[in-house]
C-alpha cells in the first residue's frame, strides 16, 4: 500500500535530491532512536513526504551527519530530529503496525505467520508510538475497521472506501500546528489519491483472485485491465492532486518548496500515468522512478 509518493528525480536539482535523501535518512534515524532499529524496515516514501512537508513548516531546519547500518563507512547528511520528524516517525510506525494487522487478518498460511511474527517483534515500538499519538492510533483503527466493512459489503463506489483511507492521513496531521486546517485538506486528498492509485495498480491481481477492488466494481470491469476507464480514472485522480496542490499553496514553507512542488506537480502525475499505462513497478523498477 505504501510507497507511491515520490518526486520525479530527473526534474529535481541535485541539491534538492540530496535534501530529499537527507529527509529520508533523518526520518529513518528518528524512527530508530525512538522506536527501535527493527521499525525502520517498514519505512516508506509516503511518510518521507509527510516528514518533508512538516519539516518545511519549521523555522529552523538543521541537518547532521550520521552513520547507519545501510551506510556504515561514510557518514551521511540527515535532517535533524524535530517536531515534524517525530510526528512523521510515530505516524510511520503506527501505519506499519496496522498494515501488518491487516495482512495477518486477510492472508492465510505463511504470510499470516510472517505478519504475526513481525508484529510480535515490533509490538513495543508500536505501543510507544501509540502512546505518543493516541488520537491518531484510535482514528486509524476506526477508519480501517470501516474500510474493512465497506470491503465486505463490496461497495461499488470509489469515493467511500477512499474517504475512509484518506481520513487516516488527515488524522496524521490533525492538530499539528496553526496550519492544520490546510494540512488536513492537503493530506486528505493525498490519501484519496494513494488509495485509488493502489486500487488501480491492483486491478489485474484482484481480478484474478476475486478480491475486493473498488475500481473493478465501480466501472463493472469485465476484463482484468484498466484500459477502458483510463481517462475517467485519470480525471478523478488528477482532481485529487489538484485539490491537494491548491491546499498546499496556502502554506508558507520555509524551505523545500521546490521538492514538494515537484512531488505534487510532476512526481505524482508521473506515477498516475505509469500506473494507468501499466508501466509502474513498485519493486523491480525502483531506480527508474527516482526512488532511493
Amino acid at each position: 500500500m505504501f510507497g507511491f509518493v515520490r518526486p520525479l528525480r530527473g526534474e529535481l536539482k541535485v541539491r534538492e535530491w540530496e535534501r530529499f535523501q537527507s529527509v529520508y535518512c533523518g526520518l529513518c534515524h528518528t524512527i530508530r532512536s525512538r522506536y527501535g532499529l527493527l521499525q525502520t524496515v517498514l519505512h516508506s516514501y509516503d511518510c518521507t513526504y509527510l516528514a518533508l512537508v512538516l519539516c518545511a513548516l519549521e523555522e529552523d531546519g538543521k541537518s547532521c551527519k550520521k552513520r547507519c547500518i545501510m551506510h556504515p563507512f561514510r557518514r551521511r547528511t540527515c535532517a535533524a530530529e524535530s517536531d515534524g520528524m517525530r510526528r512523521a516517525a510515530a505516524v510511520s510506525v503506527i501505519l506499519a503496525w496496522h498494515k501488518l494487522e491487516d495482512t495477518a487478518h486477510d492472508e492465510r498460511g505463511f504470510k499470516r505467520f510472517g505478519a504475526r511474527t513481525l508484529q510480535f517483534l515490533l509490538r513495543r515500538g508500536y505501543r510507544k508510538a501509540a502512546r505518543d499519538l493516541p488520537d491518531f492510533d484510535a482514528c486509524t483503527r476506526v477508519c480501517l475497521d470501516e474500510l474493512e466493512q465497506l470491503e465486505r459489503q463490496k461497495v461499488a463506489s470509489l469515493a467511500r472506501p477512499a474517504d475512509a483511507f484518506a481520513r487516516i492521513l488527515r488524522a496524521a496531521v490533525a492538530e499539528y500546528s496553526t496550519d492544520s486546517r490546510v494540512l488536513e485538506e492537503m493530506f486528505y486528498h493525498t490519501g484519496r489519491w494513494i488509495y485509488l492509485i493502489d486500487a488501480c495498480d491492483d486491478v489485474a491481481q484482484d481480478f484474478a483472485s476475486g478480491s475486493y477492488n473498488p475500481v473493478i466494481l465501480r466501472w463493472r470491469l469485465t476484463q482484468p485491465s484498466i484500459e477502458p476507464v483510463k481517462e475517467d480514472m485519470n480525471h478523478t485522480l488528477l482532481q485529487s492532486l489538484a485539490a491537494s496542490y491548491h491546499a498546499y499553496v496556502l502554506l508558507r514553507p520555509y524551505r523545500d518548496a521546490g521538492i514538494i512542488e515537484n512531488i505534487l506537480c510532476q512526481g505524482l502525475p508521473e506515477v498516475t500515468r505509469q500506473v494507468l499505462n501499466g508501466t509502474f513497478t513498485n519493486y523491480g523498477g525502483k531506480n527508474r522512478h527516482g526512488s532511493l
Binding site: 470509489l158 469515493a159 480525471h235 482532481q239 489538484a242 491548491h246
Partner: protein, 202 residues
C-alpha cells in the same frame, strides 16, 4: 509585512518583474481555483494580501518617480459560490441545504439530503455539490450526470457538469509542467493583447 516579500521579488526588481510575480501569484490563488473549496476563505485572504502588496509597491514607485506604465490590474475578489433558486415540492428543505452548503456546513447539508426520499434532479445536483466539497470527485460526477439526465435543460446543472468534467476542474494546477512559469509564447501573446488594448491599434 514587507510587500516585496509577499510577492517574492527583491526591492530592486523592475516593474515588469513585479508585475509578472503578481500575475503568477494571482493565478495561483485565483478564486476560480477555490470554487466550492473548504479553504476558499484562506485563499481569499491570500489574494487580498497579494493585491495589497502590489498596490503598495506600485504606489511607492509612482510617488518615487519610478517608471510605471500604469496598466491596471483587476482585483478578483468576488467569490460567489452560492446556489440559485428552485421551486418544487421540497423547496424549503432544498433552501436549507443550499444555505448549509454556502456557509460550509457540509455535515448538515448531507444530513438534510439523506432525509429526503423523493430524489429528483435538484436532489442529485445538491448531493453532487456536497460530494464535490468533500473531495469525492467521482461521486460528484455521477450525481451531476444523473441530475443532467433528469433535467437536461437546466443551465445551472449543465454548468456544474462542465466544471467537473473538463480540465478546468484542476484550476491553476498543471500536472507535468512547471507550475510557475508561463511559456514564452503565451507571455508574448498576453503582452501583445495588452499593447493592443492600451496603445489603440498599431
Amino acid at each position: 509585512m514587507d510587500p516585496y516579500k509577499v510577492l517574492g521579488v527583491s526591492p530592486s526588481a523592475s516593474d515588469d518583474e513585479v508585475k509578472r510575480a503578481y500575475r503568477d501569484l494571482a493565478r495561483k490563488y485565483h478564486p476560480d481555483n477555490y470554487v466550492d473549496n473548504p479553504l476558499a476563505d484562506l485563499a481569499k485572504e491570500k489574494m487580498q494580501e497579494i493585491n495589497d502588496a502590489y498596490d503598495v509597491i506600485m504606489k511607492q514607485r509612482q510617488n518615487g518617480g519610478a517608471s510605471s506604465n500604469g496598466q491596471g490590474h483587476n482585483h478578483q475578489g468576488g467569490y460567489s459560490g452560492s446556489y440559485g433558486g428552485y421551486s418544487g415540492t421540497n423547496a424549503s428543505i432544498y433552501n436549507q441545504v443550499r444555505n448549509a452548503i454556502n456557509v460550509g456546513n457540509i455535515g448538515m447539508a448531507e444530513e438534510l439530503l439523506s432525509r429526503i426520499s423523493q430524489r429528483d434532479a435538484e436532489w442529485h445536483y445538491l448531493r453532487s455539490a456536497v460530494c464535490y466539497r468533500k473531495g469525492w470527485f467521482d461521486e460528484a460526477m455521477q450525481e451531476i450526470n444523473q441530475a443532467c439526465t433528469m433535467a437536461p435543460n437546466n443551465m445551472e446543472y449543465r454548468r456544474m457538469q462542465n466544471m467537473l468534467s473538463n480540465n478546468s476542474a484542476y484550476g491553476g494546477y498543471r500536472p507535468m509542467q512547471q507550475n510557475d512559469a508561463l511559456d514564452c509564447c503565451t507571455q508574448m501573446l498576453c503582452l501583445n493583447c495588452l499593447c493592443n488594448c492600451c496603445g489603440g491599434g498599431f
